[in-house]
C-alpha cells in the first residue's frame, strides 16, 4: 500500500470512496507521522482519541453512503480556531488551558462535511508574526532545509504549524488565518498551496481575533484542487458574523482545469522592488510565461499606492489588535496573575501572559488610537487603505481578471535569523501580501520553483472580490507547469 500520508486530499477522498482504505487507517497513518515528526513542533496539541472516533464515525457514514464532501479526511486546525472542549490558546500563555465551550463556525462546517481533527496547530502568538517564532509553544521548524545544510528554517507565519504539517505529510490539509499574509507566506515557504479568500467569505465567529477588518480564514493543502475542496466546506454566510457575506458558495473544484484562455493577468510594476533577489524576479517572469502559454494575456498594471501598504497595515492591524486583546484581562478565563488591586492584577496578568511581539503591537496600537495621534496615524492609515483598495478596483475595471506577483521577497530563512532588534526586517516578509488584506481581496500562493539553495518559492495570484474560482483555475496552470514540491523526510 502506498504511504497514506503522501496522498493528495482528492486521492484520499477517492480511496475512501472506493474503500481502498478506511478513514481509521488514513487517520492512524497521520497520527503515526505526527508522532515521528514532533521535532517540527507543528502540532501544539494532538487529539488522537477524538481523531479516531471521528474517523470511525466517518467510516460508518461512508459505508452507508452518507459521507459528506470531506468524509474521513484528516485535517489539522490552527490553534486560533475555537474547538469545543479542546484546548484553544492562540499559542499565547494568556489563554492558559482555555477550553472553549463552543466550536468555530469554520471548523463546525468541516466536521459537518465529515472531516477528522488530528489536533491543534502551532502559530505565532495571536497570529502576530511571520516566522512562527512568537508562539508560546516555541518555533515551528520548516520541513525544508537548504541543500547540504541542517540549519533549521522557519516555515513562515503566522500559520507556520499549518504549513509545516501539510508540507510534511502530517495532515491532508489544514486551516489557517491570514491577516497580512499568514496563509500565503508560509505556504510559499513550505512549497504548498494556501488561499486567503475574499474578506467575508468565511465566518470569523469562533476564531480568536487579531485584526477584525483584515482577518480571514483559509485552507492549506498540497495541491490547488485540495485547497478548492477545503474552501468549499469552510466558506459560507454566518448570521453570527455580520461581516460575512450572504452569497452562494460555488463548487470551487469545478474551476480546476477550466481554461484560462483570454484571461487578462495584471503584472503590477510597483511589486518589482529594488534589490529584489533575481531568482524571485525570474520566478515571477516564469509564472507569467506559463500563464501566457496557457492562453492568458499579460498586461502591465499600476498599483500606485503599494509602497504605503505595509506602513498603513502596521497601524491598522495593531490598532484593532490593541482593542481586540483587551478582553484578556485575567478576570473571566485564561491565566491570571494576582496583584494587590485590580490594576496590578491586569498589569501582572498581561505582562506575564503576552509575549514581546504581542506587547509591541498592543503598544503601537494603543499609541496610534490615542487622543492627538488618531488623525495622524489611524485615520490616515484608513485613507491609505481606501486608496489601495481603489488601486485594485481601477485595475480590475480595466478588464484585468487577476494579478500575478511574487508571494514573498525571499525563501524561508533560518530560525532566529530575523528576530533581532529591528522588527521591520520581519515585517517586510509581508510586503507582497498585506495589500490584499487591506483591499479585502482573495489571494492564493502556489509553489512555482526553488531558489538556488533548493528551497521552495511561491507566486501569488490576486483576484477580484469573490472570484476565488479564477484564482483556482490560474493557480492550477502554474502548478501543472511547476510540478509538486516535496521535502525529504529528514526528521523520520
Amino acid at each position: 500500500m502506498t504511504d497514506l500520508t503522501s496522498l493528495t486530499m482528492a486521492e484520499a477522498r477517492d480511496g475512501l470512496a472506493r474503500k481502498t482504505f478506511t478513514s481509521v487507517e488514513l487517520t492512524d497513518a497521520h497520527l503515526a507521522a505526527m508522532e515521528r515528526a514532533r521535532a517540527l513542533n507543528a502540532y501544539v496539541l494532538e487529539t488522537p482519541e477524538q481523531a479516531r472516533a471521528m474517523a470511525r464515525d466517518a467510516d460508518a457514514k461512508i459505508g452507508k453512503g452518507e459521507g459528506g464532501p470531506l468524509a474521513g479526511i484528516p485535517l489539522g486546525i490552527k490553534d486560533l480556531f475555537a474547538t469545543r472542549d479542546v484546548r484553544t490558546t492562540a499559542c499565547s500563555k494568556i489563554l492558559g488551558d482555555f477550553k472553549p465551550p463552543y466550536e468555530s463556525t469554520v471548523t463546525t462546517q468541516l466536521w459537518r462535511d465529515g472531516a477528522v481533527m488530528l489536533g491543534k496547530l502551532n502559530n505565532d502568538e495571536f497570529a502576530m508574526g511571520s516566522s512562527n517564532e512568537t508562539s508560546c509553544f516555541g518555533p515551528v521548524v520548516n520541513p525544508w532545509r537548504r541543500e547540504g545544510s541542517d540549519t533549521k528554517l522557519v516555515p513562515g507565519g503566522s500559520s507556520g504549524g499549518s504549513a509545516s504539517a501539510v508540507a510534511a505529510g502530517l495532515c491532508l490539509g489544514a486551516t489557517g488565518t491570514d491577516t497580512g499574509g499568514s496563509i500565503r507566506q508560509p505556504a510559499a515557504f513550505t512549497g504548498i498551496v494556501g488561499i486567503k479568500p475574499t474578506y467575508g467569505r468565511c465566518s470569523r465567529w469562533g476564531i480568536v481575533a487579531f485584526a477584525s477588518s483584515l482577518d480571514q480564514a483559509g485552507p492549506f493543502a498540497r495541491t490547488v484542487r485540495d485547497t478548492a475542496i477545503l474552501l468549499r466546506s469552510m466558506a459560507g454566510h454566518d448570521p453570527k458574523d455580520t461581516t460575512s457575506v450572504d452569497r452562494a458558495v460555488p463548487d470551487y473544484e469545478a474551476a480546476i482545469g477550466k481554461s484560462v484562455k483570454g484571461l487578462r493577468i495584471g503584472i503590477p510594476k510597483e511589486y518589482r522592488l529594488d534589490g529584489m533577489p533575481s531568482e524571485i524576479d525570474r520566478l515571477w517572469s516564469q509564472g507569467a510565461e506559463w500563464l501566457k502559454a496557457a492562453g492568458a494575456e499579460l498586461v502591465e498594471v499600476s498599483l500606485p499606492h503599494t509602497k504605503y501598504a505595509l506602513p498603513a497595515y502596521y497601524i491598522v492591524a495593531p490598532a484593532e489588535a490593541s482593542s481586540n486583546l483587551a478582553r484578556y484581562d485575567g478576570v473571566r478565563y485564561g491565566a491570571r496573575v494576582d496583584g494587590n488591586n485590580i490594576v496590578e492584577m491586569y498589569e501582572n496578568t498581561r505582562a506575564s501572559g503576552f509575549g514581546a511581539e504581542v506587547k509591541r503591537r498592543v503598544m503601537i496600537g494603543t499609541y496610534v488610537l490615542s487622543a492627538g495621534y488618531y488623525d495622524a496615524y489611524y485615520l490616515r492609515a484608513q485613507k491609505v487603505r481606501t486608496l489601495i483598495k481603489k488601486d485594485f478596483e481601477d485595475c480590475f475595471a480595466q478588464g484585468v481578471h487577476a494579478i500575478l506577483t511574487p508571494a514573498t521577497p525571499s525563501a524561508a530563512f533560518g530560525v532566529g535569523e530575523k528576530t533581532g532588534a529591528d522588527p521591520i526586517e520581519m515585517y517586510l516578509n509581508d510586503i507582497f501580501t498585506v495589500t490584499v488584506n487591506m483591499a479585502g481581496l482573495p489571494g492564493i500562493a502556489v509553489p512555482a520553483g526553488k531558489d538556488a539553495q533548493g528551497l521552495p518559492l511561491g507566486l501569488q495570484l490576486i483576484g477580484r472580490p469573490f472570484d476565488e474560482e479564477t484564482l483556482f483555475s490560474l493557480g492550477e496552470v502554474i502548478e501543472q507547469a511547476a510540478g509538486h514540491f516535496t521535502p525529504s523526510r529528514w526528521w523520520e
Binding site: 482555555f98 468555530s104 480568536v208 483587551a326 484581562d329 488610537l369
Partner: protein, 494 residues
C-alpha cells in the same frame, strides 16, 4: 443656549446674580427582550450571571450582531423627540479596562449617532414652558455590575446587565434651573413610556442621568462645567444641581475658578464630590468597531415605524383640551403617565354622553380616583374602581340621577365592595330627589323654623347657602341641588 431668559431662575449670590446652565445625558435602557448585540435575555432580577451569552462574557472569537428591535426602539424614540433620524450611523469602540466591562471596550456610537437633533417641549408647574434641544441619541452597551459585599477580600462580577442596550439621550445646554431639569427628565420619561421604548423605572436603573452643570453671570459666555455621574432619581437630579451650582458660585465669588471634572452625587449627604479631574480622564481611543458594518436602513423603514407610533403626550394633551374642553392643567395631569391617560380614555369610551360629561369625568379621575389611589399608595393598574365603574358613576351624575355628594358615597361603596354603580343606586335608594313637591315641603319646614335666618338672608342673599345646606342635610343628600337652590330663592323672595 437660547432658552428664554424670562424663564431663567437666577440665583442670588453674595456679589451678583448667577444663572445655571445645565445639560443632561440620560441613559435609558431600551425595552427589548434581548441585549444590543447578543441574544441573551434582558430580564431584571435573574440570578447573577444567568443572562450571559458567550458574546456578553467576551469569550475569544465572539462577535456582536446588532439586535434589530433595539434599533427600531432608538428610531421610535428619535421620532418621539422630533429628531433627525440618521439612515447611516456607525458603532465605535470606547476602550477602557474595568472588570464590569468584559470586552475591554464598550460598543457605542461616537461620531455618527443613529439619531441627531430634536427637541422636547417641557411644561413647568408655574404654567411656563420651555423647549429643550436634543443634541443626539445613540445606542450603546451597558456594563455589568460589581458585587463588593459577597466575599471579604474579593469582588464578584455579575454580567447580567453586560451588553444590555441603552439609549444615551444628550440634551443641549438649554436648561436653566433644577426645576426645568426635573421637568425635562419627567417629560422625557413620559415620552419614552408612551413610546414603549424604555420602562423609565429609575429604581431598577432603567433611567439614569449624567448631569452637566455650570454657572455664569447672565449674558456671559458659558462657564466651566462639572459632570455629575449616574444620578438615579428625579429628586436627586434636582438636589445635585442645586448643590453643585451653589458650590460653583461659592468658588467663583471667592475669586476661584472651576476645575472641569467628573463628580459623584451622594444622596445621603446631598452633596457632590470629586470623582476624577480632567487630567485623570480616560483616553477612550474611540475607533469604528471593525466587527460591525455601519448601521444602515432606508427611509421606508423609518416611515413604517413613524406610521405605527402611538399618540404622544403633547398630541394627547392638545386633543383633551381641544376636543373635550379640559383645562391645560387637567390635561397635563392626565397625560403625564400613559396609564392615567389610558384610564381616562377608557372612561370616555364608556360614558353615555362624552360631550356632556367628558370634563366631569376628568375631575373624577383626577380628584376622586387619583386622590384615593395616592392616599392608599396604589398604582392605577391596581385600582379597585374600573374605568367602566367610574364612567357609570359619572353617567349617574351627568344624567341627574345622583348628586355629586351622593356620588362620593357611591364611589366609596364601589371602591370597597365593588358592584355595578347603577344597580347600587337603585338597591340602596340613593337616587336623587327631583320631585319639587317633596323638596318644597322640606324647604317650607326649614324656612318656618328659622325666621331669624330668613331675615339675615334677605338682607344678605349670599347667606341663602345656609338654607341649601340644611335642605340637603334633611334630604339625606338626595335632593337635586339645583331644584333646592331655585326653591329657596323663590321662598325667600331673593
Amino acid at each position: 443656549m437660547n432658552a428664554p431668559v424670562k424663564s431663567a431662575k437666577l440665583i442670588k449670590g453674595a456679589t451678583s446674580d448667577w444663572e445655571m446652565v445645565i445639560g443632561l445625558e440620560v441613559h435609558a435602557q431600551v425595552t427589548s427582550n434581548a441585549k444590543l448585540f447578543s441574544g441573551a435575555s434582558t430580564q431584571f432580577g435573574g440570578d447573577p450571571n444567568s443572562h450571559v451569552s458567550l458574546v456578553d462574557a467576551a469569550m475569544p472569537g465572539m462577535l456582536p450582531v446588532i439586535n434589530e428591535e433595539a434599533v427600531k426602539q432608538a428610531v421610535r424614540t428619535g421620532l418621539g423627540l422630533k429628531a433627525r433620524i440618521n439612515l447611516r450611523s456607525v458603532f465605535d469602540r470606547k476602550n477602557y479596562f474595568y472588570p464590569d466591562l468584559p470586552q475591554g471596550y464598550q460598543i457605542s456610537q461616537y461620531k455618527s449617532p443613529v439619531v441627531g437633533e430634536g427637541e422636547v417641549q417641557v411644561d413647568l408647574d408655574d404654567g411656563d414652558s420651555v423647549t429643550v434641544g436634543i443634541e443626539r441619541l445613540h445606542l450603546e452597551q451597558d456594563a455589568g455590575k460589581l458585587l463588593h459585599d459577597q466575599h471579604p477580600t474579593m469582588t464578584y462580577v455579575d454580567l447580567n446587565r453586560s451588553g444590555v442596550a441603552l439609549m444615551e439621550i444628550v440634551s443641549k445646554p438649554d436648561i436653566r434651573s433644577s426645576e426645568q431639569a426635573k421637568a425635562y427628565v419627567s417629560k422625557l420619561r413620559t415620552i419614552l413610556r408612551y413610546l414603549g421604548t424604555c420602562d423609565g423605572d429609575m429604581e431598577k436603573g432603567s433611567l439614569r442621568a449624567d448631569v452637566n452643570v455650570s454657572v455664569r453671570k447672565p449674558g456671559e459666555p458659558f462657564g466651566t462645567r462639572c459632570e455629575i455621574k449616574n444620578v438615579n432619581s428625579i429628586r436627586f437630579i434636582g438636589q445635585a444641581i442645586e448643590y453643585e451650582a451653589r458650590r460653583q458660585i461659592g468658588i467663583l465669588e471667592d475669586g476661584g475658578s472651576i476645575d472641569q471634572e467628573t463628580r459623584l452625587f451622594d444622596p445621603g449627604k446631598g452633596e457632590t464630590r470629586s470623582m476624577r479631574s480632567k487630567e485623570e480622564a480616560h483616553d477612550y481611543r474611540y475607533f469604528p468597531d471593525p466587527d460591525l458594518l455601519p448601521l444602515e436602513f432606508s427611509q421606508d423603514f423609518v416611515d413604517e415605524l413613524a406610521a405605527a407610533l402611538p399618540e404622544l403626550p403633547d398630541q394627547k394633551k392638545a386633543r383633551f383640551i381641544g376636543d373635550i374642553g379640559l383645562t391645560p392643567y387637567d390635561a397635563a395631569v392626565l397625560v403625564s403617565e400613559r396609564e392615567s391617560a389610558d384610564f381616562y380614555e377608557a372612561v370616555l369610551v364608556a360614558l353615555t354622553d362624552k360631550a356632556r360629561d367628558g370634563k366631569l369625568a376628568a375631575n373624577w379621575v383626577i380628584n376622586e380616583l387619583f386622590g384615593r389611589l395616592n392616599k392608599e399608595a396604589k398604582d392605577i393598574a391596581a385600582s379597585p374602581v374600573s374605568s367602566a365603574q367610574l364612567a357609570a358613576i359619572v353617567d349617574l351624575i351627568g344624567e341627574g340621577t345622583i348628586s355629586g355628594k351622593i356620588a362620593k358615597d357611591l364611589f366609596e361603596i364601589v371602591w370597597n365592595e365593588g358592584g355595578d354603580p347603577r344597580a347600587l343606586v337603585e338597591a340602596r335608594g340613593m337616587r336623587q330627589v327631583t320631585d319639587t313637591g317633596a323638596i318644597e315641603k322640606i324647604v317650607d319646614e326649614i324656612v318656618a323654623a328659622n325666621p331669624d335666618k330668613v331675615a339675615q338672608a334677605q338682607a344678605k342673599p349670599a347667606l341663602a347657602g345656609w338654607f341649601v345646606g340644611q335642605v340637603m342635610k334633611a334630604s339625606g343628600g338626595k335632593a337635586n341641588p339645583q331644584a333646592v337652590n331655585d326653591l329657596i330663592k323663590t321662598k325667600l323672595g331673593l
